[in-house]
């Protein structure tokens, strides 16, 4: 099977899944409305509707090609960084460094991918970006809570720009054969992360009893993680045909994606809790903000990228 065929099969599969989810949601909502409705089911349906939109946007970008895909993730980064900074208290002295984050660091990071400049892509933010932030803040003359302020902005940039940019960075990999294989690899990563999130949520709602970290996130349970994680690994393994991996390698890759994705969701939930917020934003109905959808991706993407780079290409 060639790459475009794989793409259409995959999209057909996802669409079928969403049709089933929409139908189940519709039936549940009908049954619930007789008993006065249910907030959980309304949220479930809002999430499914948002999934339709997100899958459509993603599919459109992939059909348009690598540049459109790169732009899509750059925009996602802007929204994620914006949500992060909005929730993080900043002072007037942070203004210049924030301006530089949004208008210089973020575009340069994505331009480096466009330019296929891997060496600088990997070190630009963690070295040059992170060194220039304290300099810019020192120049403002405000020393109140200096270290904390620098750290908060560095962390925001790390998660929302550096880590998320690793998803389209897959385009930098030297995959043999069809270049579209790289786009398919991006879908594979996103699909496994997101399906793992969804299934952990579903398993957690149905069977969840023991919370993993009750103070961080009461909705993350042992049952949800094990049930949802194993199912996601099974799906990731079954999809080995759309990847350059063997079934065993696909299984290992999915395991890595599921575990790192879970750890990302956990860490960012803790960050959210620390900022006294429930969601990062409100732009995606039912899901919260952009960063609520990208929290797991931000941890899984760099690890997936480097594993691919060192072992496969």
């Amino acid at each position: 099977m060639n790459i475009p065929d794989k793409f259409y099969w995959l999209m057909g599969g996802i669409a079928t899944l969403l049709v089933v989810a929409s139908l189940i949601g519709w039936i549940l909502a009908k049954r619930a409305s007789r008993r006065g409705g249910s907030a959980t089911i309304d949220n479930l349906n809002a999430r499914t509707r948002a999934w339709w939109v997100m899958v459509a946007v993603l599919a459109a970008c992939f059909l348009l090609g690598p540049t459109a895909t790169l732009l899509l993730f750059a925009i996602a980064s802007v929204f994620a960084l914006r949500e992060f900074v909005t929730l993080t208290p900043t002072r007037p002295g942070d203004h210049l460094s924030l301006v530089v984050c949004f208008y210089i660091m973020l575009p340069v990071q994505y331009w480096l991918i466009y330019d296929h400049w891997y060496g600088l892509f990997a070190v630009f933010l963690p070295v040059y970006g992170f060194l220039s932030l304290p300099v810019l803040m020192a120049m403002s003359g405000d020393t109140e809570g200096f270290l904390e302020r620098v750290t908060k902005i560095q962390w925001g940039v790390l998660i929302t720009v550096y880590c998320i940019s690793y998803v389209p960075a897959i385009l930098l990999l030297d995959v043999h054969g069809d270049a579209n294989q790289k786009l398919l690899l991006i879908i594979y990563l996103l699909l496994v992360v997101q399906i793992s999130d969804v299934l952990q949520y579903v398993f957690g709602k149905l069977f969840g009893k023991r919370a993993i970290a009750p103070r961080v996130s009461p909705s993350k349970t042992v049952e949800g993680f094990v049930g949802g994680g194993l199912s996601a690994i099974a799906i990731g393994t079954a999809l080995w045909r759309i990847t350059p991996f063997t079934p065993l390698q696909a299984c290992a890759m999915s395991t890595v994606i599921v575990v790192t994705g879970f750890l990302g969701g956990l860490s960012l939930s803790a960050a959210k809790r620390g900022l006294c917020a429930k969601d990062w934003g409100s732009m995606i109905e039912g899901h919260g903000g952009m960063l609520d959808r990208f929290d797991s991706v931000s941890f899984a993407a760099p690890v997936f990228f480097h594993l691919c780079r060192y072992y496969f290409f």
Partner: protein, 198 residues
């Protein structure tokens, strides 16, 4: 009109300017929106948060010294139809509030900042008396308190590039009028209505 749409669209993309109608609904009734003042973007942000239809009949009051030169003047006049007020006018030159009164008489709603100048802080400073005079002269106009969130972080005093944070624009319940209320009490009550939205 295209410039207005473009402007409102850009403001919404750049600083969010998400409207939250907490204490009232959008309405074509004669209104005086009064808000806390923390950045040059305030008038534009509040105005962009209004529905398209209301925007045409609502005029932000803008400082003449900042908005009436060069490209800013073009944007202010053709983009958001600003009403200029001279903050440094001396009293002998006539009533500085006169243009505001004329606009209200023509049925145009206003956006004003009763603090008079920008303060980079979360809560508003004490109000100047302009709001009180407008309120007594136009008892039928609804006084809608508005809290602008985060704009002081997006564009603090002395800076010219806004950081694209998500700023929200919260509309409160119209201030009730009390007969024979002293100026100081009225202004403090009006200010408290904004603080409540913070």
């Amino acid at each position: 009109m295209w410039l207005s749409r473009l402007l409102a669209g850009m403001v919404r993309v750049l600083v969010g300017a998400q409207p939250r109608w907490i204490g009232c609904r959008p309405s074509p009734a004669l209104r005086i929106y009064y808000a806390n003042h923390t950045s040059h973007f305030d008038a534009l942000a509040l105005w962009s948060a209004l529905p398209n239809k209301l925007r045409a009949s609502t005029r932000p009051v803008a400082a003449k010294d900042y908005w009436s030169t060069g490209i800013r003047a073009y944007i202010a006049t053709n983009g958001f139809n600003a009403l200029f007020i001279d903050r440094h006018a001396d009293r002998s030159a006539g009533d500085p509030l006169a243009p505001l009164g004329e606009a209200l008489q023509r049925g145009q709603s206003l956006i004003i900042f009763p603090e008079g100048t920008r303060h980079a802080q979360a809560l508003p400073s004490p109000f100047k008396s302009g709001l009180f005079h407008l309120s007594t002269r136009f008892p039928d106009a609804e006084l809608v308190p508005v809290y602008l969130d985060n704009l002081y972080r997006s564009m603090p005093k002395g800076t010219f590039l806004p950081v694209p944070l998500t700023c929200s624009v919260r509309f409160g319940k119209p201030l009730e009028r009390r007969a024979d209320e002293a100026k100081g009490d009225f202004l403090e009550r009006a200010r408290a209505a904004i603080v409540e939205l913070a």
